[in-house]
């Protein structure tokens, strides 16, 4: 049985079904909350913090993609505090990661006026390109750690469980278990990961070769 709940988003009253997220409820009335890691095909995780909103009664900003709508909730999706948070997320990401093929991030940098030089000179994440199989190339210098690839490899699609987070903190990266080459893992090369990658970190080998006509991937 579906039950409806009522909440207020940017002073508009919204009716939605129990279990829906704030992101769903806002989207239903045309309020656009920016996202980076979110993909409707995957279970949301609130990793990138771009979709943060203010919720009454909550001390911290809440990630709209994982916050369930509850009766009587009041949500604000735009405020100086929210903008500052989103800008900082983008500035730190731009300082550490190659965003050249993440159009969503580039658009949001332009929109929020994020200063991508703010953390210039800090550490950059530049792991070597991994080309360990005939199907696709992994260039984690471009990875924004959205986790979609891990999810579609697991219960969101393939149930192969070949990859996961490796390392901690700044050194977190997507990797196979024990760093094994993909052909030695449970990977079945379905490429669901390539299909959901938003940042050009995962590419078919053929696409990589077109971009790098002088030689094969490292």
């Amino acid at each position: 049985m579906t039950e409806t709940v009522h909440l207020t988003i940017n002073r508009l009253t919204v009716e939605t079904t129990r279990g829906a997220t704030v992101l769903d409820a806002a989207g239903a009335i045309g309020i656009d909350i920016p996202t980076l890691c979110y993909d409707p095909r995957c279970a949301p995780n609130g990793l990138c913090r771009m979709c943060v909103v203010e919720a009454t009664g909550a001390r911290l900003l809440q990630a709209a993609c994982v916050t369930r709508a509850v009766e009587g909730m009041t949500i604000t999706t735009e405020s100086p505090r929210i903008t500052r948070a989103r800008r900082t997320v983008l500035e730190m990401l731009a300082a550490s990661t190659d965003l050249s093929e993440t159009p969503d991030a580039l658009a949001q940098i332009a929109e929020t006026g994020a200063d991508i030089a703010r953390f210039a000179g800090g550490r950059e994440r530049r792991p070597p390109v991994v080309a360990d199989n005939p199907m696709f190339v992994r260039d984690y210098a471009k990875c924004i750690l959205c986790w979609r690839c891990v999810q579609v490899c697991a219960e969101d699609a393939q149930y192969a469980f070949a990859i996961n987070f490796d390392g901690r903190g700044f050194d977190t990266q997507i990797a196979t278990f024990f760093g094994k080459p993909l052909p030695e893992t449970t990977c079945v090369f379905c490429g669901q990961c390539v299909g959901v990658c938003p940042s050009g970190a995962l590419k078919p080998l053929r696409a990589w070769e077109l971009e790098h006509p002088d030689g094969p991937a490292a």
Binding site: F189, C190, Q192, L205, R206, L210
Partner: protein
């Protein structure tokens, strides 16, 4: 970052799931394949073949100009020529004139029985319709068949007998609505990967219970509540024992049996001997598992059965399929969402090629060639004089190969590779050598084409327009993404061009070949194939339509048999256990079963000319650790495998994936062609060979004995 010149939406050319592909094109080449998340069949998911395996289109070995053999070939002296130096390039005009000369010459001398054609489950509905029309309307022969004979023929015959319709009764994705489902004779995770994802989700996310009944410990067993590891060929006793328990324990749906079926009393009487104890004694399956499976299936609110070629590819394949049908009929697990009988079709368009009449006993729409009223209708549809079409059944694929030299002199092969896919290949080779004339229409110089006199280069799926019908009866569009390569032509245009020449040569009134576009061919199909009556291209733009589509306003049919079966009542048929033809003995102590792997496709024409071959480069034989110990074979060691018909050499993989006493070899690898070993004994009714069980011997070899990866050329 590469930006595409264009993105073309089309349908995957590999398996019967029928995933939606978006081909990203740069400089007329595919560099990336994606799928939209709202695709109704696959929800944006793909497997390795669809996502990364379309590079065969651009392979350097692809033949893109018509070829004629330099050395004239004679019956008895025909040879294979893989080397291009043995061929000379020709114009289409010269090549088609030569084909016309030779086929009409054989027809003049030997009549309709002198010719035969292999149509193609990878080609479009339109291609298949036109090739069968050519051979039927012009050469007056029903000797046209395709690889459905080698895959689901037993299922088709059993389903036609029992229900009057041979397709999957339900939409594959309806597994999400099943509480219990049986997977048998199907390595779903490798052969229908996207349907397997839906099955896994049904188990893990919705709590459905899966029963796997298979001699191999396939990946789906990881998701199963029960696994019944049966010896190959013991399907009838196992499924009949499940029926026995259902009846014995009062789990049958008597209301359904009374209202919707016939023959139950006789069937019930025949179940007496099929006790779980008896089934255990012949199949090796623990009797308690049989009882549990029966209770689980019959006790479910909605239960469905999915099967693939492990069921029909036996000399008793029709009986195997019947034993599954009985379960659905006696429990009423059919005719509702999430229930039903679902033969998973292998090729992208095996359903469509069958629907469109590429079969020796049926016109389009499974209308019998021996039915006078039907034949008269097709006489009129194809502008043939009354009584002109052949009223006798034609030969099936394996029968065609067997009849070469006796009756069949000339053979036309469109897109198939019988020299890899027929059983007992040494015999098939001998037969092909006896041909007077052979035409191959293909993308590659495969093992069959290399025997030909004329090679006609066909367009790939990405270069042509048409429709494929997937395993759950969904007719979907195939769209042109890149121009024709070289001088290649779309199959339908080759067939029409040839038909016009043959028609003129034979002096026949035209059967109608002046189609400007495949949409016009579909319009003709809709007139003669009742299930496609409401299909035309404009209606297929989005997600396609599921047949039957009775008229132009009919929305299509997600599941069948809600109210009745096409034959009226579902029919029970008492069965007997007929063991596999070739029992094991001291000389040949192991059972060989054959099949596919995830990375490859059938005879290998496509996937071995793709980067997929780098991913899985070498044939491997799966061997249980128990048998490895007995035969003295280590993991990874080369072995010689022999049957009464042939010998191959390949590497062994010691694994629990196959049960003790059974070895598994995929049939994609010419350098270790599994079909050199298999039996060409066929099911008496369906004519399907026994690919899934023959007796073999395994002997360890030294490393040096392993064949080179490319044994062929």
């Amino acid at each position: 970052m590469v930006t595409p010149d264009r993105i073309t939406t089309t349908t995957c050319p590999f398996c019967g799931v029928g995933c939606k592909l978006q081909l990203h094109i740069k400089d007329d080449a595919i560099y990336q394949v994606t799928s939209p998340s709202d695709a109704v069949v696959n929800h944006g998911n793909l497997c390795v073949k669809g996502r990364f395996g379309t590079d065969f289109i651009h392979h350097r070995k692809r033949v893109t100009t018509p070829l004629i053999r330099r050395q004239p070939q004679t019956p008895g002296g025909r040879t294979q020529a893989f080397d291009r130096a043995a061929w000379r390039e020709a114009t289409w005009d010269e090549a088609l004139e030569l084909v016309t000369d030779r086929l009409t010459g054989i027809y003049a001398k030997h009549g309709p029985d002198g010719l035969a054609a292999f149509s193609c489950a990878k080609a479009t509905n339109e291609d298949n319709y036109l090739l069968q029309k050519l051979f039927r309307a012009l050469f007056r022969t029903n000797n046209i068949d395709h690889c459905t004979r080698l895959c689901h023929a037993g299922s088709v015959v059993a389903l036609m007998d029992a229900l009057g319709s041979a397709a999957m009764s339900n939409t594959a994705a309806e597994v999400a609505l099943s509480d219990v489902f049986i997977v048998t004779g199907s390595n779903t995770a490798e052969t229908h990967p996207i349907i397997a994802l839906q099955m896994k989700a049904a188990v893990r996310k919705r709590g459905a219970k899966l029963i796997v009944i298979d001699p191999r410990r396939i990946e789906m067993v990881d998701y199963a509540a029960l696994w019944l590891p049966l010896r190959p060929g013991t399907d009838v006793p196992v499924f009949s024992a499940i029926a026995h328990v259902i009846a014995r324990d009062g789990l049958a749906n008597n209301g359904f049996i009374q209202a919707r079926t016939e023959g139950y009393a006789e069937f019930l009487a025949s179940l007496g001997p099929f006790t779980p104890e008896y089934a255990e004694s012949v199949s090796g399956v623990d009797r308690r598992l049989i009882v549990e499976a029966a209770r689980m299936y019959a006790g479910a609110a909605n239960a469905s059965i999915y099967w693939a070629l492990g069921i029909p590819e036996h000399t008793h394949g029709t009986d195997n399929a019947a034993s599954l049908i009985h379960l659905a009929l006696m429990t009423g697990q059919i005719g509702r969402p999430g229930t039903g009988l679902n033969p998973l079709r292998g090729q992208n368009n095996v359903q469509g090629a069958s629907d469109c009449g590429a079969m020796p006993w049926h016109y389009p729409g499974y209308q019998s060639v021996t039915d006078e009223a039907v034949a008269q209708m097709f006489d009129r549809a194809w502008n043939v004089e009354p009584g002109g079409l052949n009223r006798a059944r034609g030969l099936s694929t394996t029968e065609i190969v067997g009849a070469i030299g006796a009756t069949v002199r000339g053979l036309y092969v469109m897109g198939e590779n019988p020299m890899m896919s027929e059983p007992n290949l040494n015999h098939a080779r001998h037969q092909f050598e006896q041909l007077e004339f052979l035409v191959a229409q293909d993308l590659f110089m495969n093992e069959t084409a290399a025997f030909a006199d004329v090679f006609l280069p066909a367009a790939s799926f990405a270069e042509k327009v048409g429709t494929f019908t997937n395993t759950d009866r969904r007719v979907q569009r195939v769209r042109r993404a890149i121009p024709l390569r070289g001088n290649a032509r779309a199959d339908w245009t080759i067939v029409c061009d040839l038909a016009l020449r043959i028609e003129a040569r034979l002096g026949r009134p035209t059967a109608g070949w002046a189609y400007a576009h495949p949409a016009e061919v579909m319009a003709e199909i809709a007139q003669v194939l009742p299930d496609y009556a409401g299909i035309h291209y404009e209606r297929l733009e989005g997600e396609g339509l599921q047949t039957p589509v009775d008229d132009t306003s009919h929305p299509g049919t997600p599941f069948l048999f809600a109210d009745a079966f096409p034959r009226g009542r579902g029919l029970f048929r008492p069965l007997e256990y007929i063991p596999a033809v070739e029992p094991t003995d001291e000389t040949y102590p192991l059972i060989l079963t054959t099949g596919r792997v995830l990375e490859h496709w059938h005879g290998g024409s496509i996937t071995r000319n793709s980067r997929l071959d780098e991913l899985f480069p070498e044939a491997l034989m799966e061997l249980n650790p128990v048998d490895a110990a007995t035969t003295g074979v280590a993991d990874g060691q080369p072995v010689r495998v022999s049957s009464r018909r042939g010998t191959i050499t390949l590497r062994a993989k010691v694994t629990d994936k196959t049960i003790a006493g059974v070895v598994f070899i995929p049939f994609h690898f010419v350098e270790a062609a599994a079909n050199l070993l298999t039996l060409d004994d066929v099911d008496p009714r369906a004519k399907i060979p026994e690919y899934k069980a023959c007796a073999v011997r395994v002997e360890p070899l030294q490393e040096a004995a392993r064949p080179s990866k490319r044994g062929r050329r």
